[in-house]
């Protein structure tokens, strides 16, 4: 099964995007391959519970790789694939071994995947000091992924102030990549992301 990985800095909105995008493509529930919380018995979430329990205002909310099973209707057929939430990758060396292990697993997953959705926070792209700020890690993710998988940058949180300027900055920084403006909150850009995925699922 093809694997579409959402990767990026901490707190840019990866998890919220996965949850709302799954709902958008018409899934009834969010079904993870393994439990994202690490326990064995819980692998199915209602969208409400996923938003309440898996999304958080602080960095490093997600600390493990979490592949969800998605189906997209294409014409008369249905395409099944994994859309995989990952732990946000921070600059430098993180002090918490649990966080580091989640990040390492995320990079391992990135190595083997077919489609990379590289999410950045457009509203904080240039904020000095913010964990979400576009930085070295983003540049490395782009350089690594673009040549070996279907690759798009999702400039997220476009509903927030400052995001337009951030988007401009991101486009200039990555002139050769496709940049899709999104809002995991409002659903902006979901149609384009869906089209991008479908195109590369063949």
């Amino acid at each position: 099964m093809k694997d579409c990985v959402i990767i990026g800095k901490p707190n840019v909105g990866k998890t919220l995007f996965l949850v709302n995008f799954a709902e958008y493509v018409g899934a009834a529930v969010l079904q993870f391959e393994r439990s994202p919380s690490g326990s064995l018995y819980e692998s199915t979430y209602s969208f409400e519970r996923a938003r309440a329990g898996l999304v958080g205002p602080n960095p490093h909310t997600t600390t493990a790789v979490a592949p969800a099973l998605l189906r997209i209707r294409v014409g008369k057929g249905v395409r099944e694939f994994h859309m995989t939430d990952t732990a946000g990758i921070c600059e430098g060396i993180h002090g918490d071994p649990v966080v580091r292990s989640g990040m390492a697993d995320s990079l391992r997953r990135l190595r083997g995947c077919d489609i990379v959705l590289h999410m950045v926070d457009a509203s904080k792209a240039t904020s000095p000091g913010a964990v979400e700020a576009v930085g070295d890690v983003d540049i490395r993710i782009a350089a690594f992924s673009a040549s070996r998988a279907a690759y798009a940058i999702l400039a997220n949180k476009m509903d927030l102030p400052g995001a337009d300027a951030g988007l401009l900055f991101i486009r200039r920084l990555f002139p050769r990549e496709s940049v899709i403006p999104t809002s995991a909150l409002s659903g902006r850009g979901f149609r384009e992301v869906r089209a991008f995925i479908v195109k590369h699922l063949r």
């Binding site: 060396i93 700020a133 930085g135 040549s147 900055f169």
Partner: protein, 316 residues
């Protein structure tokens, strides 16, 4: 900096263990996988301890830590902007450090040097620590020469001037003014490769900058080093004992807290890391005195510091 041979799997393991940052993993992944998997192993440098990690491990200094992180991000993004053909803010990194003695100013300056070197802002990132006597000479022309010599030593790194206001102490005729003028000129001449830090007591720094507006505008970054709180001083003490492989009994902990509380109350003694270090080192000597007469010593005896030693150490 050591070099190790490293496969992608090993790089990922090292990342997981906290020995290298993600960017280094990508370097290894990229090198290896772009060339195909039949390639032999590639080399990845083992990073020296992360200077930011070292800063984080210092007790307190919340505001300073935030600013250093902010600065790092700022410089990074300005450089990326330049590379992307965007207008970039000029990067002026001259700083004012305001704080009482023993609040970590020099240590932070030294770490900053390494951070800047890592970022490629400074070529060497070393710290040259000077005071008035190193800059000011005895006759006309002597001062400019001495100051230029210190600047030369500091090129590629940080020139740290402690109690900077002492340069302005003697009034108009004093050679200190010549030193200031020479420094200002050096800041212009070596914009790309020198960071100046003026440090000293908060009030005196304020007065100094107030009376030298030309200087003030050249130092955009101000860091305040707060005095340590009682809890922070205690943490520092615990850390110092632990680093020397000593352990405090619960009574000794209480005694240490009591001594520090008293020192904070007596304002004539600055309650800072130096005070704690003095107590720690004296207590260790007192413990040795207590033990040396004894015949049998367990490992436990050797590492334990009691309340008595703390009180004796703080007493003299």
């Amino acid at each position: 900096m050591g070099i190790t041979v490293c496969s992608p799997e090993e790089a990922l393991d090292m990342f997981e263990e906290g020995r290298i940052p993600a960017s280094e993993v990508f370097r290894v992944l990229g090198d290896r996988e772009l060339r195909g998997t039949t390639q032999p192993r590639v080399q990845a440098p083992v990073q020296p301890p992360d200077p930011l990690g070292e800063l984080d491990s210092m007790i307190g200094l919340g505001q300073v830590k935030d600013l250093v992180r902010e600065l790092r991000a700022f410089v990074e993004i300005q450089r990326r902007r330049l590379r992307a053909g965007l207008a970039a803010e000029p990067i002026v990194l001259h700083m004012i450090f305001r704080g009482n003695p023993g609040t970590g100013k020099t240590t932070v300056a030294r770490i900053l040097g390494r951070v800047f070197r890592e970022m490629g802002v400074l070529e060497k990132g070393h710290l040259v620590e000077v005071e008035r006597a190193d800059l000011v000479g005895e006759y006309i022309g002597h001062t400019a020469q001495k100051t230029r010599d210190q600047v030369k030593r500091a090129l590629g790194g940080i020139l740290f001037i402690d109690e900077a206001y002492s340069l302005a102490r003697g009034g108009e005729k004093d050679f200190g003014k010549e030193a200031i003028d020479t420094l200002v000129k050096a800041m212009e001449d070596h914009k790309e490769n020198l960071v100046l830090i003026l440090a000293g007591y908060p009030d005196e720094m304020d007065r100094f900058l107030w009376t030298n507006p030309g200087l003030r505008s050249r130092f955009p970054l101000h860091l305040d080093f707060r005095d340590y709180s009682l809890a922070e001083l205690l943490d520092i003490g615990r850390m110092m004992f632990a680093a020397r492989q000593y352990r405090l009994t619960p009574d000794a902990e209480e005694a240490l807290e009591e001594c520090l509380r008293r020192s904070i109350a007596v304002e004539t003694i600055p309650a800072n890391a130096r005070l704690v270090r003095n107590i720690v080192e004296k207590a260790i000597r007192k413990q040795a005195l207590r033990l040396v007469a004894r015949r049998e010593l367990e490992r436990d005896d050797l590492v334990t510091i009691t309340a008595r030693e703390i009180r004796e150490a703080a007493g003299d």
